[in-house]
Structure formats: structure tokens, C-alpha cells
């Protein structure tokens, strides 16, 4: 491990795949992007931090699981198309197999009312986690200006309170918001 610092900064496909699989299997819920940063940038120096953050913002801006998107981005950046494929498969396939096994196990336990009480508590706490992450992200967006706040609030009200259909909101508001941002940049 100590001599690993001096290695060339491009990993082999296998090295990359193994690291991605390990992250997929050992990290939970919210913190996956943090794990990727630690492994790829800080520990192995396969990417620099600025590149990583640029990939992260792209991964978050587009639909799909953030961490899958990020693995595709990193994989493509390091090893081209095969890297992108290895990244996507490595991060999703092993945990997917595991979750089915666990769910099948749980199915045997769901006759007991206690199981539901535990799962209800877990679900309720998990909702708290996602709300809290949403609020942190909202605070970050709010600091960027009034325009961003209005668009964010519009998305929240349309989907959360008025229950307008998600595709409609994304397409209409997205087109509006991106053209507005582009227009501002062009004028600046």
C-alpha cells in the first residue's frame, strides 16, 4: 500500500472495476459520492478534485442514480466506453443481487408484526435523512440568487403541493430555466 503512490495514474479496467464494486457493496444511501471522492481522488490520484467535481455536477444535473452517473463519468474519463460500462455494472449489479437476497429473507419474517414496526421506524428515519439532505441542497441553491430560488420553489410547489405530473414540470420548467441561464451567460 505504501508504494502505491508512485504508480501511473491510469488504472487497468480490472483495478477500476474492483474499486467500484467495493464501494457499491460497502456504502449506504446518501454518502456514496463522498466514498468515490475519497477512493479516486484522495487515495489513488486517478483524477484531480476539480475534474471530480465537474463530473459530480453533471451526474446530479441529469436523470438517473447520481452515483451510477458519476461512475459512468469517471469510467469514461479514465478508460473510455469500456470503463463507463464497468463503472455502471460494478456499482449496481452486486448490491442489486444482495438486496433481492435480503428481501427474500425478510419475506419469511413479515408474518411477525414486530418486523413491520422496525421497518416503519427505519422508513420514517430514512425520510428524515432525505428531507435533511434536500434542505441542505436547497440552502446552497438559495445562495445563488433570486432567480434560482423562484425556479426551485416553483418545482417544489408544482410537484409537492399541486401534484402536477412530474414529466410536465421537468420539461416545461427545465426548458425555461436552462434557456434563462444560457441567455444570462450570453449577455454577461
Amino acid at each position: 500500500m505504501a508504494a502505491a503512490e508512485q504508480k501511473p495514474s491510469i488504472p487497468t479496467l480490472m483495478e477500476f472495476f474492483v474499486v467500484v464494486v467495493r464501494i457499491g457493496l460497502t456504502s449506504f444511501g446518501g454518502g456514496l459520492s463522498g466514498w468515490l471522492l475519497r477512493e479516486f481522488v484522495q487515495r489513488r490520484h486517478w483524477l484531480d478534485e476539480e475534474e471530480f467535481l465537474s463530473g459530480l455536477s453533471l451526474a446530479q444535473a441529469f436523470p438517473g442514480v447520481n452515483v451510477v452517473n458519476l461512475s459512468i463519468w469517471i469510467g469514461y474519463r479514465l478508460l473510455g466506453t469500456r470503463g463507463a460500462l464497468a463503472g455502471a455494472c460494478g456499482i449496481i449489479v452486486p448490491p442489486a443481487i444482495l438486496v433481492v437476497l435480503i428481501a427474500a429473507l425478510f419475506a419469511a419474517l413479515t408474518d411477525y408484526p414486530l418486523t413491520h414496526l422496525v421497518l416503519d421506524g427505519v422508513g420514517a428515519a430514512a425520510v428524515g435523512l432525505s428531507l435533511q439532505m434536500g434542505i441542505i441542497a436547497a440552502r446552497r441553491v438559495a445562495m445563488k440568487g433570486l432567480e434560482q430560488i423562484v425556479i426551485m420553489a416553483a418545482a417544489f410547489v408544482a410537484v409537492g403541493l399541486l401534484h402536477i405530473s412530474l414529466p410536465l414540470v421537468v420539461v416545461v420548467l427545465g426548458a425555461l430555466s436552462v434557456s434563462l441561464a444560457y441567455w444570462r451567460l450570453a449577455r454577461a
Binding site: G29, A59, N69, P95, V100, G123, Q132
Partner: protein, 175 residues
């Protein structure tokens, strides 16, 4: 391909392209379709599946794998996962290629700035909607709020907080 598998493809394939903000935005939509429209599973099973994916490794979007599993066994699980991952991944793969080729173009910045506030608005909205479907009763809401507060003011591991929620849920409801 059976009718059911075709429906799975459609439900999760379209969810894939709508999953802005990391996937939690589509949870309410998925519940509507899998529980109410198609009746693949009960509300109870949906809530259980949601909770299980919060305490197992990997992204919590693996909820779709369990929904597919309930709908049509292993074939359903496989198909739901593929339908959820592939469309968005292909899109992101293509954008990545263009992105890395064009350097710091103006449309990069415009896309990032334009989409970020919408994604965040959707995440908060879905948090509220999921709370409404998952949280039955005052004690569940209390656990949600407490977990949010604890995570906001401490650096505790989220997994520990979520597991503590399970224990508290058990204690609150069995006394």
C-alpha cells in the same frame, strides 16, 4: 415477453428518464403506479421495500429492484433494474462524451445552473410526499423529524441514525 414484463419495462423505463435529483423524486410516482394503478404489491409491501433499501448497501434506488421482484419474481427484479438504469445511463454516457470533448463550453454552465434548482425543488417535494405515504401516525412523523434534526446538527453516520429509527419505532409501538 409477457404483458406484465412489458408493463414493468414501461413503468421503470420512463421513471429512469424522470429521476432528477438522484431518484427520490420518483418514489411517489412509483408508488402510485405499482400499488394503485397496477396492483403489483400492497402499500404495506411498498413501505417495507422502501425501508429495506435504506439499510442495505448500494444506492437506495434499488427500491425498483424490489418492486420488480414483487411484481414478477426474479425476472421482474432483473427487468426493473435494467429498465431503471439503462435509459438514464445511456443519456449520461452520451452527454459525458460530448462534455469531455467540448471543454468548458457555455452550455455546460447553462445546463448545470438551469437544472440544479429544479432537481433540488423535486428532492424536497418528494421528501414531503414520501413522508405522507410512509409515515402513518404521530410517532412516525416524530421519528422523521427527529432523524432530520439529529443529522442536521451532528456528524453521526446516517446508517446509524436510520437503524436507531428502527429500534425507536419498535419501542414506541410495542409499549
Amino acid at each position: 415477453m409477457s404483458n406484465r414484463l412489458l408493463q414493468i419495462c414501461m413503468v421503470f423505463g420512463s421513471a429512469s428518464l424522470l429521476s432528477f435529483g438522484g431518484g427520490s423524486a420518483i418514489v411517489p410516482e412509483l408508488q402510485l403506479q405499482t400499488v394503485h394503478d397496477y396492483g403489483w404489491l400492497t402499500s404495506r409491501q411498498f413501505a417495507d421495500s422502501f425501508a429495506i433499501t435504506q439499510v442495505t448497501p448500494g444506492p437506495s434506488t434499488l427500491l425498483v429492484t424490489l418492486l420488480g421482484y414483487r411484481a414478477d419474481g426474479l425476472a421482474g427484479a432483473l427487468l426493473a433494474t435494467v429498465a431503471m438504469i439503462v435509459p438514464a445511463s445511456v443519456l449520461v454516457g452520451v452527454v459525458t462524451m460530448l462534455w469531455l470533448r467540448t471543454g468548458h463550453a457555455r452550455w455546460h454552465v447553462a445546463l448545470e445552473r438551469g437544472i440544479a434548482p429544479i432537481a433540488v425543488g423535486l428532492v424536497v417535494a418528494s421528501g414531503i410526499i414520501i413522508a405522507r405515504t410512509v409515515d402513518h401516525g404521530v410517532s412516525a412523523w416524530a421519528v422523521t423529524l427527529a432523524a432530520g434534526l439529529v443529522l442536521g446538527v451532528t456528524k453521526l453516520n446516517p446508517l446509524a441514525v436510520v437503524c436507531a429509527g428502527g429500534v425507536i419505532g419498535l419501542l414506541l409501538n410495542s409499549v
